[in-house]
């Protein structure tokens, strides 16, 4: 855990907060611009960046030393991707009826 660092984490907390608010504003504005197929990609990229910021800095995954914890987090992401990727590989390759 990163609790024992000498420097105050407050600056980091407020920077992450600012970045998250900026990300929200960017998603909102980007949705109004016609980017074609990239609209969804941009929205998901911003959302994933925001989720990573929350997980790494607010949930203290950055600096977590326990290997078991890392295993749980990586397997969670792996199985979620498995669920989404295999389902979409099925439905995505079907011809429209």
């Amino acid at each position: 855990m990163s609790d024992h660092t000498k420097s105050s984490p407050l600056k980091m907390y407020f920077s992450v907060w600012g970045a998250l608010l900026l990300g929200t504003y960017l998603t909102y504005e980007a949705a109004k611009v016609d980017l074609g197929v990239f609209n969804a990609a941009v929205a998901l990229a911003i959302a994933t960046t925001k989720a990573l910021l929350v997980a790494l800095f607010f949930m203290h995954l950055k600096g977590a030393s326990e290997k078991l914890l890392k295993l749980v987090v990586f397997s969670t992401i792996f199985f979620l991707m498995l669920l989404l990727a295999l389902s979409m590989a099925d439905y995505g390759t079907r011809t429209r009826l």
Binding site: L20, K50, A55, M59, L69, S87
Partner: protein, 237 residues
């Protein structure tokens, strides 16, 4: 009181009363609690993941209908709610920092502020739901979504109400389940507030705050994905 223990173990060291006897050290106890919470969150990810998967499949099939239905939701309210949740996540980490640095007043005010943001979120959500009820956009017998133009389609191309109904069903299930998690979170934070008020948390022991915080941040992350996926499918004119 540790000193009152006269067992053979007492000679080792005076330990924190919060340390349960089946753990060797406070650090081990905290790491175990943390790991348990992350495993719970893993099950929550798969739980919401199934819904996101259903959403992706139908969105791909009925993109135009989903876009039209998505456009009928108030994105400004959804955006405000995103900002409210982000602010509540900040107050959660500030509360934990306050506990780590033994600032009781700050700890309690940050917990109160977190719950306040949570209530604002639910209030805005209630307003959104009311609008949907008024517009007959709630799936069921009174559902109506007639002559709604599909965004970026030729004039007069209307959304299929049956397909739009699938969007609204997913909208209500996903945001409803998220709101339920918020209500549970408010319950957890009421308890944390009560414990903080009684002075149970110290710089050495504040694991419940950290674990409750993990839950709150997770619910925030779910919303971070729900907002663009449900509110902003096809907003450009």
């Amino acid at each position: 009181m540790p000193d009152s223990q006269t067992s053979t173990m007492a000679a080792t060291h005076a330990h924190n009363p919060a340390l349960l006897h089946h753990f060797a050290t406070e650090e081990q106890q905290r790491d175990s609690a943390n790991l348990g919470m992350w495993i719970f969150l893993a099950t929550e990810v798969m739980f919401f993941g199934g819904l996101f998967c259903a959403y992706l499949i139908y969105r791909r099939l009925y993109f135009g209908d989903f876009a039209a239905a998505s456009k009928s939701i108030d994105a400004a309210l959804g955006g405000t709610n995103t900002a409210v949740l982000i602010c509540s996540s900040l107050t959660v980490v500030l509360a934990i920092w306050a506990a780590q640095t033994a600032r009781r007043t700050l700890l309690i005010s940050m917990l109160v502020l977190t719950m306040l943001f949570g209530c604002v979120f639910l209030g805005i959500k209630a307003k959104e739901y009311k609008d949907k009820f008024d517009e007959h956009h709630v799936p069921g017998a009174t559902f109506s979504f007639e002559h709604e133009q599909v965004p970026n389609a030729p004039e007069g191309v209307y959304a299929n109400p049956r397909h739009a109904q699938i969007f609204f069903a997913l909208y209500f299930i996903m945001t409803g389940l998220h709101a339920l998690h918020m209500i549970v979170g408010l319950g957890i934070f009421s308890w944390l507030l009560w414990m903080s008020w009684k002075g149970r948390f110290t710089p050495e022991y504040h694991t419940p705050l950290e674990i409750g915080g993990l839950y709150w941040h997770f619910v925030d992350i779910v919303w971070i994905y729900l907002f663009p996926l449900l509110y902003l499918i096809d907003r450009h004119a």
